[in-house]
Assembly symmetry: C2
Homo-oligomer: 359 residues x 2
């Protein structure tokens, strides 16, 4: 079997095109055996977080913290920010799992449930004792993306609630207004094109205050990765535990490369590539976009209803060196997913669309 | 500054001498963008855990699970195995932190506290409601190692209690009798000489039964990384979350290399190198072993009282391309620590001893 040249699976995905070279340099510089209490590590932490602040427009007053995965962040958010009750927008497998984490941690948790592939319509009711609203801004399983206007609307209607945004498979694309969210998080193996094993947790002072208030009332908020512990270590550009030093180093380097390309161009390219593929899917006789409403179609994870042609299309793409992502869960046999991340070039998408068109 | 040729810091430490080549192969083979739900990943999981079972003599009936760090495992052990009360043997900074994790998770937790550098003597009293005894088998901060006979004695006296062993900075050296322990854990950046960002958690069926019993009584045992969830995924050679795939791959490869050397030879070399350095420290006019009792002296993290000579010795070693580890905490200005891991060759230790002798 030839190794596919371009990987469109939505995560882990194609590495960012500079990642391998940075990894080689890391070994040359002794990064993997560097002490996480050294000033050199502190510079690495700082390079990654300063770079992310610039790339994503994260304002002062937000902390940028590291965990082992975004899955871990689901748990830390519930542990540190929810004493009794959270509300989850559920429209696929990952948003559902975030909701389940709250239940596993013995919180009360409501869910606004819509069928996979659909957006959230109508008047949203939030019960009075809710403390946090959890939004999966980009549902990797179904390719539904929540428009940013909804975050603003929720903030306006419920200013006292914390708003947590899972942006695992959309960042660095969405241009969040950090005034209307309290915490945003992602993992590095999707849009940032890096080896898995690192989660990035962005939180504001309201989150920290909530965690401290719970701690003061003797509610356990976890140990080494509780929010006050993470923030105390961040002040020294360190982590509580020995972290994935290599992962943090690579993140800093790739973010630096993205800054050189420019976030504006990355966003424009993302939109161009998404438009190409959706156009192709809309025009195709056998294949359709799974998400029907353009307003809810993800630009970064594009899900195609490929039906009975799934196997044949997969084989055609693989033969040309393109690896599509399988459909998720119930969609495994009848859908394909295509990641549209910064490492996927315009040429890759043009090539992908040509092959689909020819089918 | 020239990069030191040999790193004796006790973790992250010198990489295993084959690690960099394996990392290069990993990128060549597309490991960093491999799906963690693919059969290729399952083979990688299996290679690492089968290798560890063989290398460490882990019997059937024990599960081998992956986390983000050993620090995470402290938390998971308390969360999953302790409903009310744990007992911790504390003789340094890391055993103390394990004890503190239990308190942070709102458990009652006793500690048998001895001064840094000393072993545990006299009759050990365990209060009646204790569920788990936590032993830091090798205290990285002070270089005290708990003799394996104590584990056997505890098991004989308290057969109903779970025994948890932190072997972070000793494995693969100690030859544990898995009949007298219930869970053992480590992280890969010490004795295994790998980039940080992966913890290995070895647990038996008694641990799983305890976690399930707590869960059945509606006590939260965490979410994605609770023990039943980890074990269910292990049955498919998978993990609940997207893990550090590259780290698991590298672990499997380095364990394979260690198997080719042979665990018997690794252990004999460890003892030879430790004997060399302790002999040198015992004979030296200005430098002494911090741990006085040979029975309690660690073979894998050797701490030297270097007193007023600390800075001068450090400079002499650095000038020859050897990086010693700083003393930990209170010992920072007056001690040096030397890791004695499988990647440290006999020649490295002979060289180290020559320089110390000449001082």
């Amino acid at each position: 079997m030839i190794t596919p040249k371009i990987n469109f699976t939505p995560g882990p995905s194609q590495l960012y095109f500079t990642a391998e070279d940075h990894a080689k340099n890391a070994f040359r510089e002794g990064i993997p055996s560097l002490s996480h209490r050294s000033t050199k590590f502190e510079a690495i932490y700082r390079e990654a977080t300063d770079g992310l602040r610039e790339l994503l427009g994260i304002p002062a007053g937000f902390h940028v913290l590291f965990t082992g995965s975004a899955t871990e962040i689901w748990e830390r958010i519930i542990q540190n920010l929810v004493e009794r009750k959270s509300l989850h927008f559920v429209n696929g497998s990952f948003s559902k799992r975030f909701h389940e984490v709250a239940l596993q941690l013995n919180r009360t948790s409501d869910a606004i449930d819509v069928p996979p592939g659909q957006g959230f319509a109508g008047d949203i009711q939030v019960s009075k004792d809710t403390e946090l609203i959890a939004i999966t801004q980009n549902e990797t399983s179904t390719g539904v993306s929540v428009p940013l206007s909804i975050l603003k609307e929720l903030r306006t209607r419920y200013p006292e609630l914390l708003i947590a945004v899972d942006a695992v498979s959309s960042l660095p694309y969405p241009d969040f207004d950090y005034n209307v969210v309290d915490t945003v998080f992602f993992s590095v193996q999707k849009g940032f094109g890096l080896p898995a094993g690192l989660g990035v947790w962005i939180v504001n002072e309201r989150c920290l205050a909530k965690a401290n208030a719970m701690l003061n009332r003797n509610i356990s908020i976890g140990s080494y990765h509780n929010l006050p512990s993470l923030v105390q270590h961040e002040a020294k550009f360190q982590t509580p535990e020995t972290p994935n030093v290599l992962g943090i180093y690579l993140l800093g380097k790739v973010v630096g490369d993205m800054l050189r390309v420019g976030i504006h161009r990355i966003r424009k390219d993302t939109e161009y590539k998404a438009a190409l593929l959706y156009q192709e899917l809309n025009a195709h006789a056998l294949i359709n976009p799974f998400v029907k409403s353009p307003e809810w179609q993800s630009k970064t994870v594009i899900v195609a209803d490929t039906g009975a042609s799934t196997k044949a299309i997969t084989e055609r793409l693989l033969a040309r060196g393109l690896q599509p992502g399988d459909g998720y869960g119930a969609g495994k046999a009848t859908q394909l997913r295509f990641a549209n991340f910064p490492t996927h070039a315009r040429e890759h998408y043009e090539w992908l669309c040509d092959i689909i068109k020819s089918f």
